[in-house]
Amino acid sequence: MTHGETHGANAELPRELLVRMHELMLKGRVLEERLITMWRQGDGYFWIGGPGEEAFNVPLGLLVKKGSGLDHDYLHLHYRSSATLLAMGADPVDSMRQMKNTARDPYSGGRNFVGHYSVRKWNVVPVSSPIEVQFSMAPGTALAQKRHGGDAITIVQGGDAGTAEADFYAGLLWSSRKGNELPVLLVVANNQWGISTAYDGQHPATTRIADLGRAFGMPSAVIDGNDPETSYRALTEAMGYVRRERKPYLVEVMVSRLRGHSSATGAAFVKSEHDCLALFEEKLIARGYGTREGFDAMRAQLTAEYLEASKRVIAEPQPEPSSIWNHVFADKNLVGGR
């Protein structure tokens, strides 16, 4: 049991993987910046997202066994998971569509806030605004996977503030019942905030969230989520355990919240927090895997590309008023027989 272990940042990964992770992190960051700008310019009513979680969310997305049905991983994500989706191959333009609530928004048809993904072909269950409910749902997909056999797992992710909800404990308990342990990777992204309320003062003084793993008989780890190498290594170990043992594993990943909670708190850049992208670029430059000028050029090119894409998205039609009556009830079972 690796209870409470903090994984070291020393392990080096292959250059191609590091370069790929950097590109995805950068895409995630530039996408979120575009979405924030869209909100500022009135092209969207609300922004929420994941700047500051890219160094963890990109490795997570790369390590997912992607696909549909019980032979693939199920993902119960939160609304800061854009980098995970990009790493899985999502089109950034689709996030702009959800930001602008256009009819072509593939995640909700203009019905839901940005970052509220739903991708059945990849087992990404609908992201919900109510916090932490995904921890009550995750044992269900995991139970089906355990019964089915194979090595596919359920991944559930929430934030540190959300761990106060009863659903978090439901997820811990239902995943760890004696004789019915389930293949779930439980992820708590700890950014030390719940909107405006600090972590300190709402949680115990001498223990941390990962310590709950011990109470529920599951291994746990604290991960430096500002380092993609560390995250990749730690996730490989945690996911390997869950795939192999068919038992739960809890990770508390320390991340930054670089743009505040949402547009409701202004979405300005928070200079006092670690910027995982800047830190990673420094590391890559030091290793000779890139240059400042090169990274800046990549960023400028993506920024221009996403700006042009958002102009096209803004011109897309809004959903028809009569479409509110669509999809109230299903007339066939889309999820059956999987």
């Binding site: 909700s108 269950v125 409910v133 749902m137 139970l143 439901a170 239902w174 889309l334 999820v335 999987r338």
Partner: protein, 353 residues
Amino acid sequence: MTTIAQAIRLALHVGEERHGVTDIFGEDVGAPLGGVFTCTQGLRTAWNSPLDERGIIGTAMGLALAGQKPVAEIQFSDYAYNTIDLLKLAGAMYWSSNGDWNCPMVVMSPTGAGIRGSIYHSHSFDATATHLPGWRVVIPSSPRDAYGLMLTAIREPNPVLFLIPKALMRYRGEEGEDVPGVPEQKALDEAINKPVTGDVSQWAPRWPETPDLFIPFGQARTVRSGRDVTVVTWSRHVLVAREAAAELAKEGVDVEILDLRSLAPYDWDAIAASVKKTHRVVFVNEELEVTNFGEHLLRRVTTELFYDLWAPPQLVAGAMVPGVGLSDNLERASVPQRDDLVRVLRETAKHQP
């Protein structure tokens, strides 16, 4: 004759043997008890869950999304209130994902008063349930309907809330209301009821062969045809309405009774046809009178059938107080009784065009 509890058990057995039910679960749902009302006794896929309603609903949602067919139980509908946002999410799943994910799960829960269940075993859930768009809401009043509606629920691609009138769990129904294909009562009881005494460690049910029966949602049942006034009801108040109709028949008032059976969808055509025939209508159910589902139906009757009415439409419903008190006097004063309905029907029937 089967009881409603036995009818549900038989339907769940058919569901797990022939229609893909994978998990029947909740508090005390598995062995040894098989449910506090024995609805899940002896079932192959029944299992006990932690005492956690949110976990029960959440896990059912997860199972459904992963292609399983769960039937989850909330032990009393009084305890479904702390799952309300999860019920909202399940009902919204298909709509909010714009048709990407449906959520085919069944939640069953005993509801209503009538057993002297005190404050937290007497609540009704009809009004709350019908405020959950995306859910099918059904509530049987006979063994046959319980059996046929449960089998339809199991094949439904949307979430279904299957409310069971707890006062009718041991009710065996009237003529023609039995589960098809069951042996006579004593033989059935011996075959599928777990003995309450003696060594039951080796007990297993001997299931009778019962056929598929899929009662469509949204079809009311005319329990009694009448000429003078229509009662629109559901759940155990179907029985109360029968008693009231028998009483009024002595006075020459001929009452028609509609059992909606299904609140979402509901059979507006049947209601409209009956009101156009009798020109008088009384809605009765035991849910709180404020924002009662009967109020919605009453509004539609008033606005859509105004010129067909010979009398003001009425609602007889539960008192708007926080709970159903335990004492017999308190329960009777809180939920509609036969005499309350008789009085309102008698008044309504007096109105002439």
